[in-house]
Symmetry: C2
């Protein structure tokens, strides 16, 4: 099935929005890709990097007549921007986002979204790097995009959105917003938090003994170089799930600590063997 | 300065020992590289992979007349094997190891090492993969090797060992055994532990929702696929440092949790900014 749209608007042309614009144009999914942002310099850069066909500082101009609007902004301001663009959307428009938390923002959006424009998306790609200077042509290729419909979601729009992400190069998985937030808390938000905290506890070693830091530490903490703005938002938007995952993590840490203190070598070996087995199930 | 030896013995031809043998032969550092192990099948594989020039199941044959003996075995059995080979070593022989913990094994070894043969080494390379099937030609290239001399170490032997690791392709850093264990606990042992525990807490997601697990989780937990035998040994050999690092980590986790509960958004942003800054100092 082909997908040929006339106009897509991308609100926010950073790493995620910019890389997506590039893919949309490369795969000829839309004739026009309009980039909206608050900073004209960054928008001009997006235009010169052929990430969008048009740029504007005006929200109405950006979203008017668009077939799809992609809100690629930090989670805390997605509902506010949805509210701003709502009056200018055409009847069949689909609005989606790229946010890492869904429950809270969708609850907010539902208050205004009488026309059921919005369906949440979470493309599980990204990088600790941000901004237009780090866009990648193949960021979305072979990735997985979680779509989070709920009871009010229009079936035709949902099918269209699935096709949209497939054309971008992604597999799609459907989860309801609350399930999404619960699972993603454990497999993405908790790992980010642990990496940030591990980095903080090693402040002295990073400053004084950089030369002896090896690949294990570097990989384990790669995501600690992620934007503090984006991740503060995410941690607060998914606060309850994260608190519950922190609790479980602390229990595991205490369990291990006790076994170590009591010299329970065989029990620790068994724990590590199980972890190794589980990790081996992933690529 | 050239380094041309007649005979090097490698006890244990797994990933570390095997990859080193390959490098020693490729760089023509020694005419003979003898591999010793407890499993004849694995030894034959090492021979066929041109990792060593000779193989033997007999320790005496392996180490007799050797200029360098490399003990590439799990940390818990290094002192025991040092004791076994001690009677057969020639006067100027240098014995070193590849272990991740130093204080405890060196204390043990000192009890027997009247001739001061032993100087500890810790090449900061490796992989979550183990065994002869995973050896890599360039495992040691551009890596850092920590050497852990103490007051009893002979200066000539130390200079020789520095040269040895340089010829293998590594930078060398000197630390005393106790400093080594303290720093490495934080930058290697704690990260391994956190990765193992993170994997364990996500058991259900790994089994049921593998398809939505992204790059962040994979990188953060890569080292959780490491050998449970090797890492149980390491955690116990460096128990006190690890317990103290676990304590510090729990304090950071508690600090974050409290800030999240109290909605201290700016304070959390500041913490994450600091972590991002620190992580940015590493490659």
């Amino acid at each position: 099935m082909k997908l040929k749209l006339d106009k897509i608007a991308i609100l926010g042309t950073g790493l995620m929005g910019g890389s997506l614009g590039r893919t949309l144009l490369k795969n000829k999914i839309s004739k026009q890709v309009v980039g909206w942002g608050r900073n004209i310099k960054k928008l001009k850069k997006a235009l010169s990097k052929k990430v969008v066909t048009d740029i504007t500082l005006d929200l109405k101009t950006a979203v008017k007549d668009a077939d799809v609007v992609l809100i690629s902004l930090p989670v805390s301001i997605i509902p506010e921007y949805f509210k701003k663009i709502y009056p200018y959307l055409k009847r069949k428009c689909i609005v989606t986002d790229m946010g890492s938390v869904k429950g809270k923002i969708i609850k907010e959006i539902k208050k205004y979204d009488k026309a059921a424009y919005f369906i949440g998306s979470h493309p599980m790609v990204g990088s600790e790097k941000t901004g237009i200077d780090n866009i990648k042509d193949d960021l979305y290729k072979k990735g997985v995009c979680i779509i989070t419909p709920d009871k009010t979601t229009d079936k035709t729009k949902l099918e269209f959105l699935k096709l949209f992400w497939k054309k971008v190069g992604m597999q799609t998985v459907l989860l309801n917003p609350d399930e999404h937030d619960k699972y993603i808390s454990g497999i993405s938000h908790l790992p980010h938090l642990l990496a940030y905290l591990l980095t903080l506890t090693q402040e002295q070693n990073i400053i004084k003994r950089k030369e002896i830091i090896g690949r294990g530490f570097l990989d384990t903490t790669r995501i600690a170089a992620s934007s503090e703005e984006i991740w503060t938002d995410i941690f607060f938007d998914n606060k309850n799930n994260l608190l519950s995952d922190i609790k479980k993590y602390k229990e595991k840490l205490n369990e291990f600590e006790l076994l170590l203190r009591k010299n329970e070598k065989e029990k620790i070996k068994k724990l590590l063997r199980k972890a190794k087995f589980l990790r081996g199930k992933l690529q």
